[in-house]
Symmetry: C3
Subunit: 214 residues, 3 copies
């Protein structure tokens, strides 16, 4: 009971940190494209909730995460206002590594949770893995499409979706052996986040399609 | 009864005028991007019905507006053919203000109606307001994404989504006090359209994100 | 019975060839945009299944085609890996005409099938025709949006969506007279694919919107 509470609190912490990291990536991208504050709010919102919402549309799940937990919508709006005040004040940029860690663990949690929801809905394994990747990655894809960019996750040669894909299979392996519970969730998060952080530290590259990858 | 009929006819008129204004914005944007008539039809269709359709997908409502009222689909196709003939004949552009007024009242109606549908579905207030904004604004966002542009509503610094957002709260305030009926709808339309027309007349700007807003 | 088996095998063959042609168009476009292999997989997947998935979302049909037949997901992943190896080996490009034929018949099948699904769901005729076009065409639209291009089908002046639209009405005409069975499907496929191949052979153009179409 006590252990479950601790695990629950830990997962909530990862969820909050991950959502804020996703949201912040949207705000930063909107800033780069010189959007106004309305555009920043929209792109931030899509970056934070787009992946989970697309997964829920595909799995026909209602209500959406941000409908059940509508406090998150207020949090994203607050983040936009705070970010705007921060930029007005021309403060120095915060260091990058906390956001990279929050993003890595958040993506791990969202991918594992997305894989688990598809599993609970009785989907085939490859579809479960895809739903995990969609959950973790498509907020960023929507962010980039709305900013009129080729999605970074498709073209920057840095492992991201691949980490979510491998982590989804780690979730599925444990889920087959042991049920889709805490242990599967932990395996998915650990593999996804671990691979992601290792890839960043080692500078691993996703291969390109041409003969001379950049 | 008689009053209700008059109100109903008025709302139908706003709906038709607003849908045509939304559709026309799609046709004009397709022209600017040198699309062919197929592209013009598609972009016109998304501009006219995209916002309401996204709202219905998110709220899991069926059938869509344009399925129930499939005459609107024919009207949009007719608008594309007429617009094409008009451009072939190289007539002078029509004056802009009727379209701005039709757009402002149409957006007011669609936002208030979208807010009301989310309210009827029992969503939290902030989600109702977002659904109102989505209904009024996302046709234009889809139009711009299909035209490979950064959505104008995110970056042109002209108040548009903000008007819909404030109007949605006006709807909600009256709906809490008096039920989600004619009076709430009227409040939503009046606040959204009034703010929008005032913003255009006064040249109000939505703040940017940098230190030197354009 | 025997005839039905033959027809069934023929339709399966068209479905497989059409899906691979759609998928390949995604892979080729991803290559042109210098995406990495993750982007290639995503764009290939959207090109292959995007149109049918959007139709199913709009008609509220579950499970999706690629969930029921999850072997197709593996086939698309295999195509991406094979295409990547092919490009690494710098083999000469394969000839274009098999892909054009597979695409034309595949689009014919997907459009007719999409029209038929909307018909079975009791939609108005114009909505059935639109659903047929969406099924045949929107995979390519999503492919181009993800590649940050104006959708080719909207702007290249080559008849494509128009062929699907006319074929959808051929399906509907036979379906009204004779029921939505094999004969309607055959009519839809024949008209769509025939028009498409004729348009390519004769160099027919879709009219533009300006006074001097390119």
């Amino acid at each position: 009971m006590n252990a479950n509470l601790t695990v629950g609190a830990l997962l909530s912490g990862i969820e909050i940190a991950g959502t804020l990291a996703f949201a912040l990536s949207g705000f930063i991208e909107a800033t780069r494209k010189r959007m106004d504050i309305v555009g920043a709010a929209a792109v931030t919102f899509f970056a934070a909730f787009g992946g989970g919402t697309l997964r829920d549309l595909l799995l026909d799940r209602r209500p959406f995460f941000w409908v059940t937990h509508s406090g998150y919508v207020w949090a994203v709006l607050a983040l936009v206002v705070l970010g705007w005040l921060w930029m007005r004040a021309a403060r120095p940029s915060p260091p990058a590594w906390p956001m990279l860690w929050a993003d890595a663990f958040g993506m791990g949690l969202f991918s594992a949770a997305g894989t688990g929801m598809a599993w609970d809905a009785g989907q085939p394994a490859i579809v479960c893995a895809l739903m995990g990747v969609v959950t973790g990655v498509f907020g960023g894809v929507m962010r980039d499409v709305l900013c009129n960019e080729v999605p970074a996750v498709f073209s920057d040669h840095r492992p991201y979706a691949v980490c979510a894909f491998v982590g989804a299979w780690a979730f599925l392996a444990v889920a087959v052996a042991d049920g889709p519970g805490w242990s599967a969730l932990a395996a998915g998060i650990a593999v996804t986040a671990g691979l992601r952080l290792l890839a960043l530290a080692r500078g691993w590259k996703v291969p390109g399609l041409g003969r001379t990858p950049p």
